[in-house]
Amino acid sequence: MASLVLPVSGIAVSAEQLLDKPMDVAYKKKLADIALNAAKAKGATYADVRIGRYLNQFLTTREANVDNIVNRESAGIGVRVIANGTWGFASTSNMTPDSIAKAAEQAVAVAMANSKFQDTPVVLAPVKGTGEVSWQTPIKKNAMEVPIQEKVELLLSANDAAMENGANYITSVLFLVNEQKYFASTEGSYIDQDVHRLWAPFFATAVGKSGFKQRNGLGNPVGMGYEYLDGKKEDKIIISGANVGYKNSYDIVEDAAAAGQQLQTKLKARSVEPGKYDLVLDPAHLMLTIHESVGHPLELDRVLGYEANYAGTSFATLDKWRSGKFQYGSEIVNLFADKTQEYSLGNVAYDDEGVKTKEWDLVKDGILVNYQATRDQVHMIDQKESHGCCYSQSWADVQFQRMPNVSLKPNEQDISAEDVIKDVEDGIYIAGRGSYSIDQQRYNFQFGGQLFYEIKDGKIVDQIEDVAYQSNTQEFWNSCVKTAGKSDYRLGGSFFDGKGQPPQVSAVSHGCATTRFNNVNVINTARNV
């Protein structure tokens, strides 16, 4: 067992010792101008440059042991150009003026070489240059500045709590990300942004006579500082008979203790009887269903075929959108996109091509009304303004269309999760993200979870196991009958969402309240081999 007080001494590592200060903005502007001028001199009609310094800190613990503490720093510059109506990109980690100019020239050479296969030139939606602006994630406590031993102690305390309550094994991790990124374009934008994200997942296991069970943490990845781990009382939502949900702060120790107890129940729990059930999905679970069945199919690049060779295309085709009548979900389903929600992973002031971020509707009263698009795409859906969905995982990779936050609007009446559960006669309540799989056009999906509870006559009764639901996106969202109100609204998220070739990760949040779906097909995932 890990003791709650660590056997370490010494002063805290200060931010200055651990991480140097960001590069001076005036210097970044100078470097950016070198790239922009070099690109223009070689014939680029447009160029943008991203100077990035990406800092990560990962702490991994296992039971009473600290496996590793890793600090990563990566700095470099990526130049994207349009020449002969075609995109070109090059990047370098060598930030001398010569090397930067060479990267810009290389980007133009790539564009020129590829333009022979370009039938229609790239068209960019207009963006007004911003001049020199800056933005920072509104964090209260920079997690990078929190002493290592404090972070380690928190993780080991969580491990300890899980082990004392029934887990045999636990791995807990703290991921910290800080993107210091500077964007400049030939249109007169110079944007300096300092973006912070954090995630503290854990993975607990209990071994019994007949096998083993796993339970992962219910905390969410967030666009916040270390204050997310304060675990404030007012951020807890208690579902009686089941679990605790977390809003804008997370008590990892409490959740780990609950995981230990729930694992012991899982080992003895009854296996689900397959069939049709009314499902009540908690936000830490439903967020991933939104991500897979709404977020991805409404990415315009997928709809148009740009992702056909990898992530796939989409069932939500342009003709369905143009009809203005495509019933994506029931009339209580309102799904919106944004990159502006406080505490969300997608929260920034400008995207990675200098577009001011905003909020817009994707599905209104159940009808498909819009997509997610970048500057070079919106003209294809007859719109004049980019949605601000451009992102790149680093200075080394080219930016492209990535999912903004996509969220389900809560009920206008502020009803609770328990108000949603109370009308269900025979159903299953599912919490936490589990196994998830969906086809390449986003029709057929199968999702599991972390915790499953039988609902009988409006009350949560027994914990059950081996649950997954299989459905079709449109059918599923049309079976949505009730959602809780804003007091129950919570942000979940995906910290490492993959897309593109070469693959890139991005982080995105999904907000929703506890929601009910009727008559969904549930399968049993246990199997003898």
Binding site: V8, V66, A107, T205, K209, D439, Q501, T525, V529
Partner: protein, 444 residues
């Protein structure tokens, strides 16, 4: 970036070590220069070149370890990263599982580097993409593909005498061809060490043929079917199984390689030496395999050699860590750099001809674990699923979701074809009976 040679790497890492004051210091220098071209809707969509070198320094005082990395190489930066790792180490708690770094090692020669791959230009990539786009356009189809070549090197040095260096090249190409009406879709891929072996035109013809052949797919009832899994369809299931082969999780009772506890038994045991699969299943890793060579060492500098994981259906070796090996009195066996599964002589075409009724699966998509105890996975077929009757492809069928375990798959073998390279592995096409499809998908 110009490629960092063995000599330059040695000089640089010697300098890095000179800044170290730790009991143990190990440095990994990894570099990558890559070029890519991506196309969709029969036109180039993005293309680029990237290069980066990352230095990772791991410092240890007693049992306290810290790791830091950086991609800047002036003397001040080198010293900074060493000091940063030392600071992290000093404030880290003791790692009770710490095992000292390795001393000097001997390595096998592996043919992992092809000079021609290192000289690909943007024009070469555009030409290769053109050889895929043009025939698609001509066939009135829509092509989307991705080609990337990379030159990588890795060097490791520590203050206990270890130095390792390896350079490698790799080329990945894949293409999806869809009919203009979106009713048919076909996919094919090729990955090679030497770019001279790449033929994007030939590969694209397979995708074009599959796209045309998959239009107007018929519905078949979900259920258990005899399937022919092309290597691209089974490779991910095998990779997932390989990732779950760890001795430690098996010893801890939380793996498909753990024995279930009998009444009265105290601690879990693993299945080493047990026959779990059909006797025709032979799976191994080999850094010197001529078609899928890898670096002759892993991240910790320990030498890689040929290791049999499954021999004659029996679990023969399980990868572990130096700590777990020592604790359990086993030899240290690191995870392999490739998966090589032995097969037979039949080609895919021969296997189709020898099938009375079955389903041909081009590839699987979105594979996710359902139960780690049984290695049950779910996912879907994609880009070319066909019904075979009396030795011929009869008609295209709608895609299925499967819920199946590679353990079942490797027990239900009807026949194995000739292995081919896929994602850096050698995998045979497999004919498998009773493969479980659980539902239908409308996706094309």
């Amino acid at each position: 970036m110009t490629m960092i040679t063995q000599e330059t790497a040695k000089k640089l890492l010697t300098k890095v070590l000179s800044f170290s004051q730790a009991d143990e210091c190990e440095c990994n220098l990894n570099g990558r220069t890559a070029g890519n071209i991506r196309y969709a809707r029969n036109a180039v969509s993005t293309a680029g070149e990237e290069s980066d070198v990352v230095l990772t320094v791991q410092s240890t005082f007693g049992k306290r370890t810290g790791t830091a990395s950086i991609n800047e190489f002036d003397d001040a930066s080198l010293e900074k990263v060493v000091k940063r790792s030392e600071q992290l180490a000093k404030f880290a708690p003791e790692n009770q599982e710490y095992v000292p770094v390795f001393g000097k090692q001997k390595y096998l020669e592996t043919p992992s580097y092809a000079p021609s791959t290192a000289s690909v230009t943007p024009e070469d990539r555009a030409t290769a993409a053109g050889a895929s786009i043009m025939p698609s356009k001509k066939s009135k189809m829509v092509s989307s593909g991705f080609l990337e070549e990379e030159v990588t090197f890795s060097a490791i040095m520590n203050n206990k005498g270890l130095f390792a260096y390896n350079a490698a090249t790799n080329v990945d190409f894949s293409v999806t061809v869809r009919t203009e009406d979106g009713k048919g879709s076909g996919w094919a891929s090729q990955d090679v060490t030497d770019v001279k072996q790449l033929d994007t035109g030939k590969v694209s013809q397979i995708a074009i043929q599959k796209a045309g052949g998959s239009v107007d797919a018929k519905e078949m009832e979900p259920g258990k079917y005899t399937v022919i899994l092309e290597p691209a369809a089974s490779v991910q299931l095998l990779q997932n199984m390989a990732r779950n082969f760890s001795q430690r999780t098996a010893d801890e009772g939380r793996s498909f390689l753990s024995n279930k506890l009998d009444e009265g038994e105290e601690g879990p045991t693993n299945k080493l030496g047990q026959k779990m699969f059909d006797e025709r299943v032979n799976i191994y890793s080999d850094p010197q395999h001529p078609e899928v060579p890898t670096a002759p060492f892993g991240q910790d500098g320990y030498p890689r050699k040929r290791v049999d994981w499954i021999k004659g259906g029996v679990v023969t070796n399980m990868p572990n860590s130096p700590y777990w090996a020592k604790k359990t009195g086993m030899p240290y066996i690191p995870f392999g750099g490739n998966i090589i599964m032995a097969g037979g002589d039949e080609s895919l075409e021969d296997m189709i001809q020898n099938t009375r009724r079955g389903v041909l699966v081009t590839r699987l998509w979105y594979i996710r674990a359902l139960d780690p105890q049984t290695l049950l996975y779910t996912g879907l077929t994609r880009d070319g699923t066909f019904y075979i009757e009396n030795g011929k492809i009869k008609y295209p069928i709608k895609n299925f979701r499967f819920n199946e375990s590679p353990i079942v798959m490797l027990n239900n073998i009807e026949s194995l074809g000739k292995p081919v390279r896929i994602d850096g592995n050698m995998i045979p096409p497999m004919k498998i009976r009773d493969f479980t499809f659980s539902s239908l998908s409308d996706a094309v």
